[in-house]
């Protein structure tokens, strides 16, 4: 039962994508929603099995590694799969309104959207280094094409730059995979971990692979492609880029490091990765503070928030793993909400210059509220998901007496408060020009109903995640790296 459910996760959206391409546009909405909705019961079945203490595995085509490819779902991959479902479900709700299936843009959007969903699920399930490469290529290429959907020259340029850097990163990853296969004779991630000894080859291969993954994860100083790509993409695309697409490479990085990277088990490499994270937190936050456009501000905030994930490598404890995994969830949900709200405001105001936000709370209260709630989680204020994540991370840093990391985490939250409050203060607290005050009789939300609801729902979820963190953490505990005890 549970192994078949893994197949549903990948095949349901994929079949829906093919059907959408062939069927007439009026069937698109139903097909797409069915493809995405079917993954929920499948996830539920797998989760039940994993909570029962099982690791759900299936050897595809009946060929067990090293001959074939295995799918493997533990608590870690399932946590990521649930994040995928939640983000995709709400962003799809937004896209139903912002990319209506009968429009030209909608006809381009939905097939690629569904293929992206299938490939993200396939990536989180895969236990095979080369299969991870293929899924990663699929995710990147789909993301690139979706950035360009709007057709604006700036978006095209951003997409092209993302494509070129992404291809270079893929090449690094692929070269490393070839080296690892040559040395171990297997592509299965866990078998590579068992067979790979220490030595120059292991170090070279892992260093190459990690470099490629860092480029795709936009970790400073390899982040140059991210702000434009995430800032210029259409709203739902930005949301899923920041919430999921940059996380998939971090997921592979963590898997590789803690499950297969014994050969790199020295303090220096871990410290360097942590240092990159610290620089990302400070630089990304300051860059966000000085932005003059809302979507670029949110994009730089992603650069900063991704930095926290890198602190896992030097801390390397159970507490840090739980904290970072929870941070990936909390940031994913909150950032998707933030990008959707920003896109709604951009669509409503005609510009996302920060000055234009003055008085926006009167006309677009739902979207401003969604942005503010998501901001609470990004800043790490209680009782949000972001608070739980950062509190646990602080605790982990404290336990291992990493005072420098403690300082960086605290500073990051303070800087995040600056850029979030900059937006919120403009929207709520400025004296309002007469023209922006709502006139009686006009409906403020009007045509942005579903899109605003999607943003608000995700933002509320980002808060709720903090109150209802216990079940999520117990799922995470079932996917701890080898050698870490709950």
């Amino acid at each position: 039962m549970a192994p078949d459910a893994l197949a549903v996760l990948v095949f349901a959206p994929l079949v829906a994508a093919l059907a959408v391409i062939v069927a007439p546009p009026r069937a698109t909405t139903a097909l797409a929603l069915a493809g995405i909705a079917l993954t929920a019961p499948a996830l539920w079945v797998v989760t039940a099995a994993v909570l029962g203490g099982e690791v759900v595995e299936v050897a595809l085509a009946g060929a067990a590694p090293p001959l074939g490819i295995a799918w493997r779902a533990d608590g870690f991959s399932l946590t990521m799969a649930w994040l995928t479902f939640v983000v995709v479900a709400f962003v799809s709700l937004h896209a139903l309104a912002s990319f209506p299936s009968t429009s030209d843009a909608g006809r381009r959007f939905w097939p690629m959207w569904l293929i992206l969903v299938a490939s993200v699920y396939a990536l989180f399930l895969s236990a095979d280094l080369f299969n991870l490469y293929v899924t990663l290529e699929l995710v990147t290429l789909t993301a690139v094409a979706m950035i360009a959907i709007g057709g604006a020259p700036a978006a095209m340029r951003a997409a092209m730059r993302y494509l070129l850097l992404g291809l270079m990163a893929s090449l690094f990853y692929l070269l490393a995979t070839a080296l690892l296969y040559g040395q171990t004779g297997t592509l299965d991630l866990y078998q590579v971990g068992e067979r790979l000894g220490e030595g120059a080859l292991a170090t070279t291969a892992l260093a190459l692979m990690i470099t490629g993954l860092l480029v795709k994860s936009a970790i400073v100083p390899l982040h140059v492609w991210l702000p434009a790509a995430h800032g210029k993409a259409p709203g739902p695309v930005s949301a899923v880029l920041s919430a999921l697409v940059v996380k998939v490479t971090l997921y592979i990085l963590i898997r590789l490091w803690f499950w297969a990277g014994g050969a790199l088990d020295d303090g220096l490499a871990a410290f360097v990765l942590g240092l990159l994270g610290a620089v990302a937190i400070v630089y990304g936050s300051i860059a966000a503070i000085v932005q003059t456009r809302l979507k670029m501000l949110v994009a730089y905030s992603t650069v900063a928030q991704l930095g926290y994930v890198m602190l896992l490598f030097p801390l390397a404890s159970t507490a840090a793993f739980r904290a970072v995994t929870f941070h990936v969830l909390a940031h994913g949900v909150a950032k998707a909400a933030m990008f959707l709200a920003a896109a709604n405001l951009l669509a409503a105001l005609g510009s996302d210059r920060l000055q234009r936000l003055v008085g926006a709370d009167q006309r677009y209260p739902v979207n401003v509220l969604a942005f503010a709630l998501a901001g609470v989680s990004i800043m790490g204020l209680p009782p949000s998901g972001g608070f739980v994540a950062k509190w646990m991370l602080l605790e982990a840093a404290w336990q291992s007496q990493g005072w420098g990391w403690v300082a960086v985490i605290s500073a990051g939250s303070l800087l995040a408060a600056v850029y979030v409050f900059r937006v919120v203060a403009l929207a709520y607290a400025q004296p309002r020009p007469a023209s922006s005050v709502r006139r009686p009789g006009t409906t403020p939300r009007g045509r942005f109903g579903a899109t605003s609801v999607a943003a608000l729902a995700l933002a509320v979820l980002a808060i709720v995640l903090g109150i209802a963190s216990a079940p999520v953490l117990s799922l995470i505990d079932l996917g701890l790296p080898p050698g870490m005890a709950p």
Binding site: A7, V15, F130, T135, Q183, G199
Partner: protein, 309 residues
């Protein structure tokens, strides 16, 4: 020193020299032509290394189709300006060269230390191959043992086409510079070459189960036929993807998905091919899908129609 070693050394030197010429040449057009030549030499190298499947794929796709796409792109960006000189920045080139050189050196040095392991996936493939009814290990890996990879690669190709359609926007299909078919040589070339390419493609497809060949090599040959027909105006680009086009474009991925997911319903693991019929079905569908996709990309079109229609 045997003749083989001399040939290998000449190939190696020629590859380095050619790649140098490609990046230091003064004209974009010549660079493209040299790049195609480079691809052919890489194909020869694969053949020397005993990988005929790779050699065929490299010659057909790496040199042939990529070259055709590059020439097409060259024409569309260079149509207004005849052969403008390429601006080079020696500083940047030096940095890139040093970085790439050290990367190659590091990887090469690391690869020297590789020892053959006893329980490798490659050995497992040769052991399990007789059970599949296939004689070609490459087809066995691509379709049977690691079918998931190939299925997702088909999705990559589909996304590439969808992405190209997105970038194409509302633009009308690109003007293809057509060759007049009344030119004696062109007309007879078409009538002779088109049927032969079809024959070769089908042969490669069928041969792929037991000998070097398969869907990827076959589709490249078929695409060559498609490109020829577009260039001579036998097929004309259109701005709308009709039902048949959309169906054919997804056919390869769809066949894979249906067989792969269907296996789950009859009690097998997902992606299990229950017989050689599945291999033939998927390979045929893939060949048609890839050939159409590549021809559409070449023609910068959403659809194709016959000359008279």
């Amino acid at each position: 020193m045997t003749v083989g070693v001399v040939v290998d050394m000449m190939l190696g030197l020629a590859l380095v020299a050619l790649s140098l010429r490609v990046v230091t040449g003064g004209s974009l057009f010549r660079d493209i032509v040299l790049f195609i030549l480079f691809g052919l030499l890489v194909a020869l190298s694969w053949a020397r290394l005993g990988a005929p499947d790779l050699a065929l794929a490299e010659a057909a796709i790496g040199a042939g189709l990529t070259g055709a796409l590059m020439l097409m792109a060259y024409r569309s960006i260079g149509a207004d300006t005849e052969e403008r000189p390429v601006r080079r920045r020696p500083g940047v080139a030096l940095v890139v060269a040093v970085l790439t050189g050290s990367l190659v050196a590091v990887i090469g040095l690391a690869a020297l230390g590789i020892e053959r392991v006893p329980d490798a996936a490659g050995d497992a493939v040769l052991e399990a191959l007789p059970g599949t009814g296939l004689g070609n290990a490459v087809t066995g890996v691509l379709l049977v043992f690691r079918g998931l990879d190939t299925m997702l690669e088909m999705a990559v190709l589909l996304v590439a086409l969808l992405g190209a359609w997105t970038v194409l926007g509302d633009a009308r299909p690109g003007r293809v510079h057509r060759v007049d078919r009344r030119t004696p040589l062109v007309g007879s070339l078409l009538t002779v070459v088109a049927p032969i390419t079809l024959l070769v493609a089908v042969h490669l497809l069928l041969a792929g189960t037991d000998a070097p060949g398969g869907a990827f090599q076959a589709c490249a040959v078929l695409t060559g036929c498609g490109v020829l027909m577009v260039l001579t105006g036998t097929l004309r680009p259109t701005a709308v993807a009709g039902f048949a086009t959309r169906l054919l474009v997804v056919a390869g991925l769809a066949a894979f998905v249906l067989v792969g997911a269907g296996a789950g319903f009859v009690g097998h693991a997902p992606m299990t091919l229950t017989g050689t019929w599945a291999v033939y079905l998927i390979e045929t569908a893939m060949m048609l899908s890839i050939a159409l996709t590549m021809t559409l990309l070449f023609a910068r079109a959403r659809g194709l129609r016959g000359e008279g229609s």
